[in-house]
């Protein structure tokens, strides 16, 4: 089908509404409204205004706040308790949180008050009557305040580095003394040895697994992939489909080719479950499926899809095909202008069964047209407190997690390489003594797919803490290897499959100071964005209102994401009015939904401050990735540029003489 260039451009702009608006504002503001000012633009004048702005802040002793903040951090750190890893992590968090908070508050106040105060005390008369254009005035102020935040962050950065090094030195001394005295338990020894060698201030660059699957047992072949029943396992398929691909009145069905088998739970420890005597458990296999959003949260649960009861299958499985009601499609499918991946998950019932996929796999069928998933499905675990749950045990009931590392860079010269493991533990407690410490054994087996070298490691990690495991470098050489993880104790191990993977290979180590510098750069970019928003708000509002607006714009998107206002009308009516039907209830529900839509739409045009992740990586001892820096830069430029241009346009048409 031929698509004209104009239609293609319009379609692109429709899909990228935020960027289109940004581009329109920048181009329209600079070329249409401010063409003459752009031609006259002088960096010399901008820097003159910036230098006065900077000097003003410095001479008003803004930097004097930093020693107070440092003092606060030192006091807070005296109350921090925990092991060395915790102590350093808490200190990093305190220092960066304090630096960030200080800079953000100061910038909000400075940027929002400067222009209104200059108009109020009429200093603007002597600046605006000079050849400086309003564009130069706005830009000069932003640069001036950016310099102030730069110096604040530099001072706080130097303090942070010094303070952390001091704490690290003291903690390493203590670790060395404990190790020498033998006052260290088995659980902590390897980690403490790693700290003693590598230090506590890490900036590790990690190789990450390409995918993580949680399986019922270790497969004996490529097709032997099963998840446990009893709601403990899921098979999840990703689809790229948007609402516009499903015309009104379409019939949409989910089709899954499911295999089922009975699994035998031997009474003695055995790492390999067998298919055992199936006849001993009479109930047939049963499955359900759910429709998940991009966060893997169920939008439509299994009881809403198809029928209220799980779908019974023949003993060896079969093809499940169920229609999705239009009202559920409306909830599930993203709009064309905001495409996101969506998922279908298969959940198997009955602990005596395991479930896999037949050759047909997953399909969505829209009016007879079959839509295949994006990539192979993932084998997942039930969501628990610490991520997806993998069942442990000393026998065949224990599941395995497979971490596939493919073409990952690995240390070239080292004899030993280090893995970092961070899992959550939910061991089964002794009912008679629930407070008793349970040492949980985790078994890792690393298998190199290129040279078949393998290594097995057993360890006793602490829950939700990093453990470091050293293995011979040969097992990871070539970067193509699998790691099998199982918990050799009753209970569950939680594995986070989103964000930072629970198992990573330490590829290299960066200088901590450089890593800190990168984190501070992210904070600096955020401070520049705040300055731009503050200056823009102050061009048309009095300073108290400008401060409020700046804060609202800054946190608007984040807050909207947090409260998730979409489709809340019905639940609000049900929760607070106790009625789901009736004209009044419908009107209230629809009004709330519309308001939610307005808020969500408005939030799309606000900056996403969650992209300024300055603390998380540094706190976890990971090297701040270039992606983190680029994301922060992207939001700063793509949101900051149009707001800066708007500030210029507002000021250009503002009568600065009260």
């Amino acid at each position: 089908m031929f698509v004209s260039p104009a239609a293609a451009i319009l379609a692109f702009l429709g899909l990228n509404a935020e960027w289109s608006v940004c581009l329109a504002i920048v181009v329209g503001g600079l070329l249409v409204v401010g063409g003459a000012d752009v031609i006259r633009f002088s960096l010399k004048r901008v820097m003159a205004i910036a230098s006065v702005c900077f000097r003003q802040s410095i001479r008003r002793r803004v930097l004097w706040i930093t020693p107070l903040v440092m003092l606060g951090v030192i006091i807070v750190s005296q109350f921090q308790r925990g092991d060395p890893q915790d102590a350093i992590r808490q200190t990093i968090t305190s220092c960066l949180f304090a630096s960030g908070l200080l800079v953000l508050l100061v910038m909000i106040v400075l940027a929002s008050t400067n222009l209104p105060k200059e108009i109020e005390n009429r200093v603007i008369y002597t600046v605006a009557t000079k050849p400086a254009t309003r564009l130069e005035i706005v830009l000069g102020k932003v640069i001036g305040f950016a310099c102030v935040s730069f110096w604040m962050l530099l001072i706080m950065g130097v303090f942070t580095l010094g303070f952390l090094n001091l704490r690290e030195w003291r903690l390493r001394q203590a670790i060395a003394a404990d190790l020498e005295a033998g006052a260290v338990d088995e659980i902590s020894r390897s980690t403490l040895q790693y700290y003693q060698q590598a230090g506590l201030l890490h900036a590790r660059q990690m190789s990450r697994p390409a995918r993580i699957d949680l399986l019922a047992h270790r497969p004996r072949g490529a097709d032997d992939l099963w998840v446990p029943g009893g709601g403990n396992g899921l098979i999840v398929a990703e689809f790229a489909i948007t609402a516009d691909q499903v015309p009104a009145g379409s019939q949409v069905e989910v089709e899954i080719d499911v295999r089922a088998k009975r699994i035998y739970m031997p009474p003695v420890a055995d790492t390999q479950p067998s298919d055992g005597p199936a006849a001993m458990l009479p109930s047939p296999p049963r499955v359900g499926f759910e429709l998940l959003d991009e966060q893997n949260m169920a939008v439509v649960n299994m009881f809403q899809v198809g029928q209220p009861q799980p779908i019974e299958l023949p003993e060896v499985g079969g093809v499940v095909r169920r229609r999705i009601e239009p009202q559920f499609l409306e909830l599930w499918l993203p709009r064309a202008e905001n495409p996101r991946p969506v998922y279908v998950s298969l959940i198997g019932g009955g602990p005596q069964h395991a479930y896999g996929l037949g050759r047909g796999g997953f399909h969505l069928i829209v009016d007879g047209r079959r839509i295949a998933p994006v990539g192979p499905p993932r084998y997942a675990g039930r969501s628990g407190r610490f991520g997806e749950q993998l069942r442990g045990g000393s026998g065949g009931e224990a599941g395995v997690a497979l971490f596939q590392f493919r073409d990952q860079p690995v240390p070239a010269e080292a004899e030993q390489v280090t893995f970092e493991l961070r899992v959550g533990l939910e061991p089964e407690r002794d009912e008679s003594d629930p407070d008793a410490e349970v040492a949980t054994r985790i078994v890792l087996e690393i298998v190199n797919r290129s040279n078949d070298q393998a290594a097995t490691v057993e360890l006793y990690p602490e829950s939700n803490r990093s453990s470091f495991i050293q293995v011979p470098a040969g097992v990871v050489r070539g970067g193509d290897f699998d790691v099998w993880l199982r918990m050799a104790a009753d209970g569950y191990v939680g594995l986070r499959t989103r964000g930072y993977p629970p198992l990573m290979l330490v590829r290299a180590s960066q200088n901590f100071a450089f890593n800190l510098l990168k984190s501070l750069s992210v904070l600096w970019m955020l401070s520049i964005l705040i300055t731009i928003i503050g200056v823009c708000a102050s061009t048309f509002l009095s300073w108290p209102i400008a401060i409020v607006l700046t804060v609202m714009v800054l946190i608007g998107r984040w807050a909207t994401d947090q409260i998730d206002v979409s489709d809340t009308g019905r639940s609000f009516v049900a929760d607070f009015l106790g009625a789901e039907s009736g004209a009044q209830a419908r009107a209230i529900s629809e009004t709330i939904d519309r308001l939610g839509e307005v808020m969500t739409t408005a939030a799309r045009f606000m900056p996403d401050i969650s992209r300024f992740g300055a603390i998380a990586e540094l706190q976890s001892g990971l090297a701040v990735s270039s992606q983190t820096l680029l994301e922060a830069l992207g939001v700063t430029v793509l949101f900051g540029a149009p707001v800066l241009v708007l500030a210029y346009v507002f000021l250009k048409y503002k009568e600065v003489a009260p």
Partner: protein, 305 residues
Amino acid sequence: MTSANSEAVITQNLTKVYRDFWGRPKVTALDDLNLSIHRGEVFGLLGPNGSGKSTTIKLLLGLIFPTRGTATVLGEPAGNSTVNERVGFLPEESYLYRFLDGEETLFFYGRLFKIPRKELNRRVPELLDVVGLDAKARKRKLREYSKGMARRIGLAQALINNPDLILLDEPTTGLDPIGTREMKDLILSLKKQGKTVLLCSHLLADVQDVCDRITILYAGRMQTLGEVRDLLQVKDVTQVLARGLGDGQLQELRAFLQRLGATDTTVTHPTTTLEDLFVRVVKDHAKAAAAPPAASTEVAAAANP
């Protein structure tokens, strides 16, 4: 008829109406002002408080926008940042950055005109001398300045770009009589250099001393316009000035004038202005104080050989 090139400022039906929050007219600050200020003249804008003087200046500088009408400054639309290259402005109070010192202030405003550093190094001390700020004052923060010093530094920043048109809003406010006299002398010297000066004041004596032409505004409207001499001349009264006449001759003169038919005759000694008297006394005193003390020693020595 005057051409646009010979006019420094032209306004046509210039009107400014201030509106309330809802956009309803609140105050008409300036109403249909039609004005031409010739290049090279000192023009006075007079009027009581609220007559529209400051509004006119703000409109000419682009600090506010007209509701109706147009204003042209040095041949270009008012408020255009290119025209600001050739305009100097002293606001009614010195609205400057109070955390900068005198020199920093002038360097800052100089940089806004993109004056090269080398040129500023020469021009800044020169201007500070012209406005009478001593070396000590130059290094003091503006927040420590007296009102008079603030006016002086304000004037210096208005002249930093060697402007063709200078707008002075109440230039003598806060100045002592010496400062007032120096300001007036400076205005006259600017005129000699061919600059155009627009002076806005309600101190009528100052305006009378330096202005070539004036206009009087009242309630936003122009009430009168013309040369100061013409406007102040009382056509039906004659003034005779003479030196060296005694009392008897003054009696004779009075009788003579009555014989010629003159009425309300006054023959008396002229008085100087209070400003002239003050300036003379202070300057004489300053001169005496600055005289070398050796002279008095010599007198004492002569009296006691």
